[in-house]
Structures are given as C-alpha cells and as structure tokens.
C-alpha cells in the first residue's frame, strides 16, 4: 500500500451549492502534500468527507486503504486531525483537551506531549474559554503531534500562530514526515507550503486544477526575465508583459519557450541577465484570477502587477525551496 489518500471524481452538493465538483486527490504514503485553494473552494469539505463526517454524493474516496465513511472508527485510530478553527470546551483545561483528543484516537506519547507543550510555549492549565485563537490552535496541534499516527490531516493549522510558532510547526511537520507519517496540509500560507510540501494539489470551485511537485508546476508556467543587452532588444511575439527601455528588456516567458528567447537574446549580446522562476504565489494567483481557462496560460493579463509586486517579498524563500 503506497497511496495514503486516493480520491477521484468526488461530488458533494449542499442544496443548490456544488461544493465539490469531481475532485481528484492522490497523496502518496510518506509525503507532505500541500492542498491549496481559495476560500470556499472545497478544501474543508474534502477533508470532512475524508474524516467520514460528510457523505459524498458520488465519486470514490479511500483513506489508508479503507472507506472513510464505513471504516471511520478504525481509520481514525491511525490519523490525527487539526481543524482550522479550533473550538474548545469552556470548562476543560487545555491539558485536559489534549489528553482527551489523544485518548480518543488511542493514546498519546507523554514525553512528546511534554516536549511539545514546551516548544509551543502553551500553558495547559488554562481553561478553554481563556485561550486566544492561536493558543486554541496550539492545543489541537500538540494533541495531533503527540500521537503516533500514520496520517496527519491539517486544515489550515497555523491560522493565528505567530511566526515563531509557525517555525515550530514546520519543524514538527518535518519530524512527523521523518517518522514516516503522511501529511495532508491544507493551507493559505504559500511560503509554508513551498517550504514543507513534496507535492501540491491546487483546487478551485470544487475541482483539482493542478497537481504535481513544485518543479512540475513551475514547468507549466512562466519565468520572469530581466536582461540588459548590448544592442536594441528583439520584440518576440511569444513573450508576455514585454517592457523595453533602451537596451533593457523585461518580460515573462512560458517555460517551454525559455530556450528560444535566450538564443534570441544571445544573438544581440547579453550584458546582465536575471531570471526568476515563478513563485507559488504567482501560480496560485494565475489559477484564481484567470477564471476557468488557466490550463494553457493564455490569459495572463491580470498577473502583471502581482508578478512585479511579489518580487521583493517571497522572492528569497522560493529559491531555497527549489533547492530542497
């Protein structure tokens, strides 16, 4: 058994709303899989189907080799779940909630629990009602990471965490993967996904629009080129967002045309050249802003400002992610 989660053609409607519209998702055993999508695209619905809380209208879903609806109880012994918005019992302390949630799936490791409380700087004696959003999230995270499970299902688990705690969270995910656990990480934080995930699925309006490794996904998209040339730049018609200023050329080029463009530039003579692979953010925006027809990247007009604006921000981290 090498597939931890296998979902195909999943459909779920709520009244007239079609929350899932033929969604596919495959998560291999032992990988950290990023699950991306805008608000309301069906991430949480998918996760609830995987947890056996919702029953799909059609399509198939298999979880750790079992049926998430029929085999919910035995499957849940092998998984831990962290919701994006944790609500706790007002009159239970955080420590009690951690123990309870751990025991409900068959126990947790007390030593790891203690270490995690320390690392997440969580006071377990406070009552549920007094925790802030971030601290409630930590309660669920400590409970999940303290258990020895095969699968972690994390639904926007870091909402409300500060950057330091976000870092602790990332370490915990890496440790869980090193233990052999599979992780399904639904997230909005793209740097988090880029840093942690082996593969990514992007969904939109209840369908999967991209899935693959980050390198695969990058391959489908455009690279930004900023070149200083020896002479007047060429004006190829296959590039996007072309801007020419004297001998300077800036544009975006589909990754499969990159070689052609470089040959053409070389013919003029290149003084300096900066090329930047697309960030996940650009991938993401492209899928979300372009409406439906995003497969061949034909409608890139809306991306201009975003592509330029993001250069300063996440530019540093993606490079590191590519190395990983």
């Amino acid at each position: 058994m090498t597939t931890a989660i296998s979902v195909s053609g999943l459909v779920k409607t709520f009244g007239r709303t079609r929350a899932l519209d033929g969604l596919d998702l495959t998560v291999e055993q032992g990988e950290v899989h990023g699950f991306l999508g805008p608000n309301g695209s069906g991430k949480s619905t998918t996760i609830r189907v995987l947890l056996g809380l919702l029953r799909a209208d059609s399509g198939t879903a298999a979880l750790l080799g079992g049926d998430p609806w029929r085999d919910a109880v035995p499957l849940h012994r092998r998984l831990a779940y962290v919701p994006g918005d944790v609500t706790l019992w007002r009159n239970l302390s955080g420590g009690e909630a951690i123990d309870l949630l751990g025991r409900l799936r068959g126990g947790l490791d007390p030593a790891r629990r203690a270490a995690l409380l320390e690392r997440f700087e969580l006071d377990p004696t406070k009552k549920g009602r007094t925790y802030s959003k971030g601290n409630r999230q930590k309660v669920a995270l400590v409970a999940a990471f303290s258990s020895d499970v095969d699968l972690l299902i994390l639904d926007e688990p870091t909402s409300g965490l500060d950057p330091l705690m976000e870092e602790v969270f990332r370490e915990c995910v890496v440790e869980a993967r090193d233990r052999g656990a599979t992780v399904l990480l639904s997230s909005h934080i793209l740097s988090e996904v880029e840093a942690l995930c082996d593969r990514v699925s992007i969904i939109r309006a209840g369908r999967t629009v991209e899935t693959g490794t980050l390198a695969d996904l990058r391959h489908l998209t455009r690279t930004s080129i900023d070149a200083e040339l020896a002479g007047p730049p060429p004006r190829p018609d296959y590039v996007h967002d072309l801007a020419v200023d004297g001998h300077r050329l800036r544009c975006q080029v589909d990754t499969d045309r990159l070689g052609t463009l470089l040959t053409e530039l070389n013919a003029v003579g290149v003084r300096t050249l900066a090329s930047r692979p697309p960030t996940l953010e650009e991938l993401f925006l492209r899928h979300y802003e372009n409406g439906g027809g995003s497969e061949d990247g034909s409608g890139g007009g809306a991306d201009d400002g975003n592509g330029g604006g993001s250069e300063g921000g996440p530019g540093g981290e993606p490079t590191a992610a590519v190395v990983r």
């Binding site: 019992w89 009159n91 123990d99 409900l104 009602r129 299902i153």
Partner: protein, 552 residues
C-alpha cells in the same frame, strides 16, 4: 411598535463621539438589529402568551357564565392552600376577568420573565460569547449600547405583550381598568426579569450560565410566591417575589396600580447595576473569577462518554437540587388540601379534570407529579439538544475525528435524558413525599414511596418528549430547535387542555394525558408500555438518521 417611542437615542449612531454622550452610540442600530433578528421568535412569544390568556378568559366565560357559579368555583379554590400555592389566590372570583387573572397571573408572568430573560441574554452575553459583539464593539458603538439596545427590545416585547393581553381581555368583554392592570402586571414583571437577566449577563461568562442564573431566579421567585400564597401567616414571603408583586396588583379586584412601581423600581435598580458592571469589566470576561485547571486530564477522561458526563454533570446537579427544593415546597403545602371540604361539586369537578380522582389530596399530589414530569421534560430536551450545540460549535468534529462512532458519541449524551431524568423525578418525588409525610404526620415511609411512584411513572412521557427532540436533531438537524415544539404541544395540551375542556382527541396527543394518576389512580401497564415502545421506535429512527446524515 410602542417601544420605539419610549426609547429614541438612535440619532447618536451617526454623530461623532461627543464627550459623555458616546456611551450609547449605536443603540438605535443595535435595537433595530435585535428586532430584526428576533422578528419571528418575539412575535411567537407574544402571541402564545396572548393566546393563552385569551383562550382562558373565553373558556371561563363559557364554563362559568353566571356570577353564582363563579363565586362557588372561587370559594372552593380559595379555601385550598395547595391550589393557591400552584396558581395563587383568587382576589375576586365574581368576574370572569378575576378568574382569568387568577388562572393566568403567575403562569403569564413566568412566561413574560422567560421571554425577557432569553431575549436579553441572546443579545448581550451570547453575542459576546460568540465574538460577534467584538465586531460590533469595534464600530462606533458605545460601551453600554448593546445592553441598552437589548433592554429596549425587551421593553418593546413586554409593552406589546401587555397591550395585546389587555386587548384580548377587553375583547372578551371584561372591565377596561382590570384588563390594563393585568396586562401591565405581566409586562412589568417581564421588564423586571429583563433587567435581572442584564445583571446575570454581566456575572456569567456564557449565555448558558447567564440564562441559568436568571432561570434559577425565576424558579426561586415562584417558590417564594408559592410559600406566601399557600397559607395564613406566610403572606409576607410572597412580597419578596416579583411574581408575588404581579399577583398583588390584584387586577379586576381593586387594581392596585401602585404595586406596579415595585417591579419598575426593581428593574430600574437592576438596570443601573448592570450598566455599572458593564463599564467595569473587559469584553468577553465575566465577574466571577477564573481558576486554572489541571495540566493533564484525569485517567477517566478517555472516551466520548466520559466527555459527555463531564459536560452534562453540572446542569444535572443544578436541576436535581432545584427539583428537590420544589418537591419539598409543594409536598409541604399539601396539608392545605385536607382542609378543603370535599362536598363542593364544581371544585371536585375541576380538580378531577386537573388530575386524579380518588380524593382531593391524591388529586393534588398527582397534579404536582405531572408538573414535575413536565419540568423534567424541559431538562430532557435540553440535554438532548446539547449534542446539537456540540455539533454546531465545531467541538464535536475533533471528537468524531477520533476513534469514536457517532452512536457511541450520542449514547454518551443520551444517558442523561434517559437516566438523569429518573434522578430528577426521584429527587422531586422523595422530597415531596418526605415533606408531605412530615406536614401531615402520617408517617414518611409510605408517603415517600407513594410520591416516588407518582413521579417515576412520568418517565415514559418524559422519554418520549426527549425522543421527539432527538428525532428533530437526528433527522432534521436544521430544525433541531423544533425539538421544543413537541414539548410545547405536550405541555399546552396536558396543562391547559383539561381546564379548557378540549376534546379528548386533542388531549390524547400528549403522552402525559395517558399516564396513570398516581397516587390513588389505577395503574394500567398498557399506556406505559406503548409510550415506551414509541420512544424506542422514535429513538431508533433518530439514531439511524444521525448515522446517515452529514455532520457539522
């Protein structure tokens, strides 16, 4: 509605904060928001209250058409301490209005109190608990605006109730001053409890606890009034209770308008207290102090059932205590029943319709056992709907993402409507029997046994009420609050049906109508068995629905 005239600081909302005046900024907007959110619930409360008064006055007019029959009826009731304890004294039985004021005075005031409590807490503490008030508080909204808006909405609702009740009495041809006095007595009592709820909403941190505190106060007011009304020499106790004030207005019996000042002054004081408290505390915090909890869970907290026990044990304890106290009070005043002369034909007729047959004492005990059964049904429905609260809040989700089947999760909670109800009825029965035995001096052992039988025989009907609520939750989760509908129908039919002489077909709708009248009446197993069987069927259908449906 009339409340809008009484409360008009609305224009403040848009003006920039002026020193001293911005405390109430936004009140008008919040007031309209409250009425908008309650556009269904509030009219239902008001119409139900009005409808009950109207049906009572019209049926009294039909049943006791001439003054002589009314006087005979009233004389029978008024000599009986136990009936006075349940409904209050009759101040003037010569008019239909006077009889209606007796029959619906306490009941209507309790209804107004509950309506006002739920209304105020829903728009103050419950909003704060859910975090919505934070969103509102971040706008140009004064610190005291939400509280003021909730109280203004309560004023509106109570004014509407008072006006419609008075109109209904007028329509039945009753004296205008008496009608106004009765309507105002109900409205002013409602207003008092609205202000009380405004204070409990400051003390408690959750809407549930705030409702619980205010509900306990209504219960205490009822018990105080019952003690005050039950016999000679205890009359002053009744003056300690807002429900007693409502009686002492004596609508249709002299109309003592000045008594209305008591609830109004009380409401003003409590409002001032709540307003002072709201400015003294942080948003989201209560005034009762926080204690840290244990860093680790006790070994026993290891299953969904253990969690359900932990969540449900507090309310169960509170309810048990309340029912034991109520049992003791109502058992203790049973002595008044034996003082009643049994040759009053109409009286015996009415008593027979209220409950049992063999002897007035048994009829009284049997009717209070029915009351305990219905009160326990409130607990049962509430305990069932706790599951829905867990689901809606998202707390059930991580539990069910553990190795916990839905049935096991539900079973943990359902233990309480199943066995907790038995505990409540046993507490009420034992306390009532003990108090009755002591008061009558006839030996406590037999009395306790008799009353335990009388209260525990209510269990099948209580269970069926809970099962109807469970069916709502399992099969129609969106309409789970409709679980209260079953309860409402059962109570209205059994409580008011006999005295209104509703047709038997309607009375048969309520399982409480089919129970043996204990003590004294014959015990037939058949109704108990089929009610239990119906409960089992309904529960099975509800659980099948719960297993199949989407959660969350």
């Amino acid at each position: 509605m009339s409340g809008r005239v009484l409360n008009a600081p609305a224009p403040v909302a848009t003006t920039p904060a002026a020193p001293g005046g911005h405390d109430l900024a936004g009140t008008g907007v919040l007031y309209r928001l409250a009425l908008r959110r309650d556009r269904i619930a509030l009219p239902v409360w008001v119409y139900v209250g009005t409808g009950m008064v109207a049906s009572t006055v019209f049926s009294f007019r039909k049943l006791y058409g001439d003054e002589a029959s009314r006087r005979t009826f009233a004389a029978g009731i008024d000599g009986n301490g136990s009936l006075r304890a349940l409904y209050g004294p009759i101040f003037d039985g010569s008019t239909t209005g006077g009889l209606t004021a007796w029959r619906m005075g306490v009941f209507g005031a309790v209804l107004a109190g509950l309506m006002s409590t739920l209304l105020v807490v829903r728009h103050t503490r419950a909003e704060e608990e859910d975090g919505r008030l934070e969103l509102i508080g971040a706008g140009a909204v004064g610190r005291r605006a939400p509280l003021t808006a909730a109280l203004a909405a309560a004023l509106t609702a109570n004014a509407a109730l008072a006006a419609l009740v008075a109109a209904a009495l007028l329509a039945a041809g009753q004296d205008a001053a008496g009608a106004a006095a009765f309507g105002l007595a109900l409205g002013c009592t409602g207003l008092f409890f609205a202000a009380l709820a405004a204070v409990t909403a400051q003390l408690a941190e959750t809407g549930r606890a705030a409702n619980g505190l205010a509900g306990a106060a209504i219960g205490a007011a009822f018990v105080l009034r019952a003690v005050g009304d039950s016999g000679a020499g205890t009359g002053w106790v009744g003056w300690l209770s807002p429900l007693g004030w409502s009686e002492q207005v004596r609508a249709f019996a002299g109309n003592r308008w000045w008594v209305l000042l008591l609830p109004l002054a009380g409401a003003a004081l409590l409002t001032a207290l709540a307003r002072a408290l709201v400015a003294r505390r942080d948003l989201g915090a209560g005034l009762l102090p926080q204690r840290p909890g244990p860093a680790a869970a006790a070994p026993g907290l290891a299953s969904a059932a253990a969690l359900a026990r932990r969540l449900q044990r507090g309310p169960l304890l509170g309810w048990t205590l309340a029912l034991a106290v109520a049992g003791a009070v109502f058992g203790g005043v049973a002595k008044g029943v034996v003082d009643l002369i049994g040759d009053n034909r109409q009286m015996a007729d009415v008593l027979a319709r209220i409950g049992g047959r063999d002897g007035v004492l048994n009829a009284y005990l049997s009717s209070i056992a029915t009351v305990f059964g219905m009160v326990t049904a409130v607990y049962a429905v509430q305990a069932v709907l706790r599951m829905r609260a867990e689901e809606v809040s998202g707390r059930a989700e991580p539990v069910l993402a553990g190795a916990v089947s839905r049935l096991r999760w539900a079973a943990g909670h359902l233990l309480f409507p199943l066995l907790g109800t038995a505990l409540l009825l046993a507490a009420a029965g034992a306390a009532a029997g003990l108090a009755e035995g002591l008061a009558l001096g006839g030996g406590t052992g037999g009395a306790v046994g008799r009353m335990l039988g009388a209260t525990l025989v209510q269990l099948p009907a209580v269970w069926l009420t809970a099962a109807v609520a469970l069916a709502g939750y399992g099969l129609l989760p969106r309409w789970a609050a409709a679980g209260w509908t079953g309860f409402g129908v059962f109570v209205l039919v059994s409580w008011l049906g006999p005295i209104l002489q509703l047709p038997q077909g309607v009375l048969d709708l309520s399982p409480f109508s089919h129970l043996p009248h204990l003590p004294g009446g014959p015990v037939e197993a058949a109704p108990l068995l089929w009610i239990t069987a119906l409960t089992a069927l309904t529960t099975a259908a509800a659980l099948a629905g719960l297993r199949r449906r989407d959660l969350g």
